[in-house]
Symmetry: C2
Subunit: 187 residues, 2 copies
DNA sequence: CGAGCAATCTTGCCAGTGACAAGTTTCGAC
DNA sequence: GTCGAAACTTGTCACTGGCAAGATTGCTCG
């Protein structure tokens, strides 16, 4: 798979990001250790610093990757808001490590231009989907409020799901559960 | 205020919890240092361990305190779901440190009996308020789905607010903004 | 082809942290 | 007043992030 032999690793930056995703999925972003990443990748403890500067730099790169992945996922989800909402929750569960970093700005440099750009891309896709929401009660909906309400409900459900705070009767299929809950808003 | 003189602090447990809330409000739970707490309280670096065992023990106590405070806050908020939802968001903003710990179970012992009891108390109050939700479209609402949708939307809005992820046009008054968003669900 | 330069990675170090062990001081019950 | 238990201290260890300085390698340009 990855050669990893020789003085130069070859693709250390990517390897570190992949390993970080793995480690965060196991124990959360707080427990992430650069030295552990280095050990897993078979390099010295100072190697990560060369590519990312510091821990926040690595998590910044992970956040950019996450927002791009989210934009792509939402873009492929279909036109209507329900499908986009289900895709949002599904993204959070399938890419838990990315999701947990993305919305914890104290862990990385959220004002980094690359982060802002990627975050804007994802936000635009979400807003497009909200525009397809039918107006309620036959009247004109307020796009601002609809967007905030939609984002809040999917983000809240995803967060509670990841935290294990939801009661067992919700089941173990996040997509199905998300569809059930979101339909309360868009029905 | 606090005497703190003599070999015995007098009320170290409470002092540590209060200082922890302060520290977490400043820099988040990940940056919390037991040794820093001890310094702020004017005791030795190993004193906290006597009261809480380890870091997770301190955060467990903080979570219990948080869930109790949430139950109390929701109980005082009034009968209808909108008022409870606004109170939920207001709690998250005013007691940010507690809220951030409560829904990050990897930081503490979430299966601790005291935590489960306090968490159940808060959940029961929330469920009571959902029962007061008028059925939609004149038909019968589904209490399970209504409760999940309500919890999701308030939790999601609160989380996004705390993360600083919401656009500036939402304003700077969390209660007003929360009422605006939640009304989309309960109108 | 090969010389030098920049990127990559290493070793070594320092301060700070959480956890544990063992000792010291004080409180309170009897 | 004594004595046991609770509260707190000192000391230590392994680990972490970050920095500095050095070693190795790939790449570019003549």
């Amino acid at each position: 798979m990855t050669p990893t032999r020789g003085y130069h690793h070859g693709d250390l930056r990517r390897a570190l990001l992949d390993t970080a995703v793995e480690a965060i999925s196991e124990s959360g972003p707080a427990a992430l250790s650069l030295r552990d990443l280095a050990r897993r990748a078979g390099v010295s403890h100072a190697a990560p610093a060369h590519h990312f500067g510091d821990k926040a730099g690595l998590l910044t790169a992970l956040a950019v990757q996450g927002f791009d992945l989210l934009a792509e996922t939402l873009g492929q989800a279909g036109d209507d808001l329900l499908a986009a909402g289900v895709a949002y929750v599904d993204f959070a569960v399938r890419h838990r490590a990315h999701f947990e970093v993305m919305f914890r700005p104290e862990l990385y440099r959220a004002q980094d231009p690359q982060v802002r750009a990627a975050s804007d891309r994802a936000g635009n896709v979400l807003r497009d989907r909200v525009a397809g929401l039918p107006a309620r009660d036959g009247g004109a909906g307020e796009p601002g409020r609809d967007a905030l309400a939609a984002w809040s409900i999917v983000h809240g459900f995803a967060t509670l799901w990841l935290a294990g705070a939801l009661p067992p009767r919700v089941g173990d299929d996040p997509r199905e559960a998300a569809r059930y809950v979101i339909s309360r808003l868009v029905e």
